[in-house]
Symmetry: D2
Subunit: 345 residues, 4 copies
């Protein structure tokens, strides 16, 4: 059960709820967001009458009993699709947004060329890594703030909102000054301090599923962000780790369809990480859209063979341009409207 | 390397090849099929000149060096798509066949009703289990030959070719007398005696991927069938076993796209077993077609809640009929022609 | 629930039970073993009074309600350890049997040398493959009956009972004529016809866990054998398939300890397949014994680098001899008595 | 290849190395630790003569070519076991340390009672969570600094060094003021900023393996800590995520044995998280020691049924005391000396 307090509820109203919970030997976990304050009620035995009882307390907006362990992200709580606005691009509700760009920003020339190419082919957002999580400390870890500046420059020229990863709580302010959508990478899906920090930022968040995270854990991680009062979370399935070694990961499109059923949040797919092979990106991108994803994020590089990271899974600009009409065709076949028309050339 | 002998090559010609291999301390594995005889050459060190050397031997049709461990199923050996003919239904080469029917044949009324319903909705083949592999010895294991007779009766009325599983070598003859397409289930993907027996039968074979089989192992199992001279193998991805428990299995559509690239054999999907939940079947069916599958096999039951097995993952006839136009729309969007038009109603 | 019939119960007594089940809209699965006949009762709703009701039927020995899906193998049914007698070697109840020998029998010299070496080092049984399941049809698949003859010869000289795999129902009679313990390989753990055939043989059976079989499925497969009236099943954990690629499989010693708790059957470990690397065999063998396994089966080859299969995971005779005293030391430290003392040399 | 600079090498010496690398179109990743500075050399093509060439540069201590992607943690670099000193307790080199205590510190009474009980039973360190990573934002997340103070109090009374988790870079200073050994939890194994921060702290670090981390990734994460000049890393295997649901995780003792072979760092096991069931902790603890682990960390609670977290996998004090003599017996059987004798009682 959760107790949602009214905006501007007073401390003593909150304390009254907590006190009542203590009387029942329950614990109240107070989660203060910027926009609203929620009290999660947990304990061995919640009395059946408690829901109604607390609903009448001063300052309480509503009380909710929810069968899933996640509450705020659940469709039980909110049956209609959440639409997240990323600098004017609407994500969710059957959208077909396409986020494209290089794994990492490598140079001005590289990011500007890619940005123009993907915009011309119909992409609606630009991706590019500034801070890269890398298994080895000896490999390229991104250009940092220089990359952020170049992304902003690319946005200025192309009009595309920009998405980039933030890896640690201390960097949230910095990255938020440049980016339109903060990406939480798969390795950080359960970095709870980071989730709470991006929650507090109020910025749109792209939350990638962890390599071995269950769907339930993924939604619970989204719950951490929403519990801070930030409803702007976009989920992203990017492949899970299985026994199969012929592909880098295993795209779990079951998870896309199931997440769409369980939560009101938008869901994207990342067929680049999901497959690890550029030639598998087009079929899996199409598959993900057909499975119900609200769009995709895909790695595109003007010269994949020379990419400093993830070259094997990056589409060339030409291959990306060839994929886009098929994406739109599948989306149209299923009655969905792509967010941006492919321009005449 | 493999040495393909000419049709009608003589024993002494084969022996001459084997003798030469022995001289090089190599082993020749003789695989006699009905249509052709192949000698697989294995050993620590194959001399670089051997390929050309053996090509000139009497009775040798050709010698092939193949980089993959599987040979006859490889696109390296045969770049063009194999089309398998199942009593007139062509599978492969971008087809969009739809095999539908109950998990198990339960009664005449059940199978006849289902057969009519799926035919009317546009299915091109009928499935139905007669012999069911079950984890527990205490559960329903199928109606056996009675089920085969009912399937034949349903074929007679509807014209739909029938698919059913054979579980053990001794049953191949029996099942082959009724079925048009012999299914090898996931648990039997590495039952090599069974693979060889269906190979010898010459019948079309539907080879499901094992729960934890790599793509390479799956193709090697198909190789067992082809090595018997039977080229009529259709692969089927039906979900793999992963850590995720929210779905019964994890559909691996990476595997569909990669198999289409690595082998010339047709590939179907089974979204019923791949998801385990009827409400996930439509999105994953669409996803599989979009990923490049040559069709699908799907469980349909007139009364899923009363099904004796797999009810939770069976579509009702109505839900199946509602799915079919979407399947055709996605196939058409990608330029593929469904094998059967949905009839006017 | 299961209904155990008295030995010699009559057909009409069985039919009376089945008839009563039908009245309750339940199904009775009749499993006739050589030693006893069991009726498994399944259905949507078993009346709470049924257990007592049937207990009074003529010919009924007892009725049992069992919480696990497996019944005959459950410790709920039989709390004391089963001891399986393999030609005089007792397996189970805290035994520490050591089965050793080559992956495959390759020649008389090889198997005889190995048999002598492992006996001298303290092994209590000899293993050796005659029929080998191989992923590829082009690799060595064993010497067949010749290998069985050589194993029998090795038994004659060394006194060691012999273990070898049987792969298909039609071979059970042949293999049973030579072997003392029939091995069901991991790939065949859910080959139900084979399980029933070895069940009917009455021979001791070594049932390996499938690569991706849950512990519950493994025990249900054992249930298939016991349901035929053959209680002589020894389980064997041989590693499961996970995402880890640095080892061939992942030894699941949790499964050993849990199986020992859930079932009365003996459990062995196979650290050769469980690790895939000879230098990991000793630590994992010791670990398995410490975890409570009743012994181990381990691959030993006089010249591992020249082994025709599994050389990378085979111990040399010297390394095997060096391991044995440690095995006995760990067993002794935990108060268990090895079945055979290491002979003086 | 890595270039290790002499202590006190000057900036211009480092720059000279970097400059030479640039001439070869290589990149030098400068990793400054407190004790030493290392330059990791990466790039497409390292000239074969470079190793010798740089060895003669001023300020260079040595140059090393290492076949594994991890360098400083590799046994190739350092063949002898690292012994980590945790406030006088030596971990590594065949030690048998036992770290015990509750999942989370819950109260003064709870932690003091546990500390006394585990010390009396022979534990050599005390564990207890102050900051708890939890999948759900609505569950108990630890007592924070209050817990740290209670742990310090328990250390004062019992003399046991204390281990506790740190979850985010900003907390490293705080936790390091109290703890003797900083734990990095499984979810944070690839939280690189945190790894670098604990690296800079110079404190002993207990690095748990991620749920789906390969052994190579685990060692690379340790490399992040060592690359900061902090050699005091203890690895900990705590179970991986697999398809098996009967246990919480799957203990991977292959990984323990392989890690001991690949790295010079100590390796502990955590059978509590590795199994998730208290009754499987003893057999798996024994198994881990037999597999070669340098000790274990185990959850003990005076009243497991009332624990606020992980009660199902916590040993009672009595069960822990009963386990310890067996641990010592297995260690002794394998010729290892436990760090602390069980006291007379």
């Amino acid at each position: 059960m959760i107790v949602v307090m009214q905006a501007g509820s007073e401390e003593q109203q909150i304390e009254a709820v907590l006190e009542r919970l203590r009387e029942y030997h329950l614990r109240g976990h107070l989660v203060r967001g910027e926009e609203r304050t929620v009290i999660g009620v947990v304990g061995a035995a919640i009395p059946p009458t408690l829901k109604e009882e607390l609903a009448h307390f001063a300052g309480v907006k509503e009380t909710l009993r929810i069968t899933q362990p996640y509450k705020l992200v659940s469709r039980e709580l909110r049956p209609t699709d959440t639409i997240v606005d990323v600098r004017g691009v609407k994500v969710g509700g059957g959208s077909c947004v396409v986020v494209a760009g290089p794994c990492a920003v490598e140079s001005e020339a590289q990011i500007m060329a890619t940005a123009r190419a993907v915009r011309d082919a119909g992409a609606t957002m630009l991706r590019g890594g500034a801070f890269k999580p890398r298994s080895s400390p000896y490999t390229f870890r991104g250009m940092g703030e220089d990359a952020l500046r170049l992304l902003a420059q690319a946005r200025e020229e192309t009009g595309l909102p920009i998405v980039t990863e933030v890896m640690t709580p201390n960097d949230v302010d910095l990255v938020a000054r440049y980016a339109d959508l903060l990406q939480i990478g798969a390795r950080n899906m359960q970095n709870y301090q980071l989730l709470e920090e991006v929650g507090r930022s109020g910025m749109p968040v792209l939350l990638k599923r962890g390599l071995s995270a269950t769907i339930e854990e993924w939604l619970l991680s989204a719950e951490y962000v929403l519990a801070q009062g930030n409803p702007n979370v976009i989920l992203c399935e990017r492949g899970i780790r299985t026994f199969e070694t012929a592909t880098r990961n295993t795209m779990d499109l079951n998870a896309v369809a199931l997440a769409k059923r369980r939560t009101h949040l938008p869901v994207l797919i990342d067929p680049s990480h999901g497959t690890g092979k550029w030639y598998l990106v087009p079929p899996l991108a199409l598959a993900g859209i057909a499975a119900g994803a609200d769009g995709m994020i895909v790695e595109v590089h003007p010269d994949p063979d020379r990419a400093r990271s993830d070259g094997a899974q990056s589409l060339s600009c030409e291959n990306f341009a060839a994929l886009m009409p098929k994406i739109h065709a599948v989306a149209a076949a299923l009655g969905r409207t792509p967010m941006v028309e492919v321009p005449e050339r």
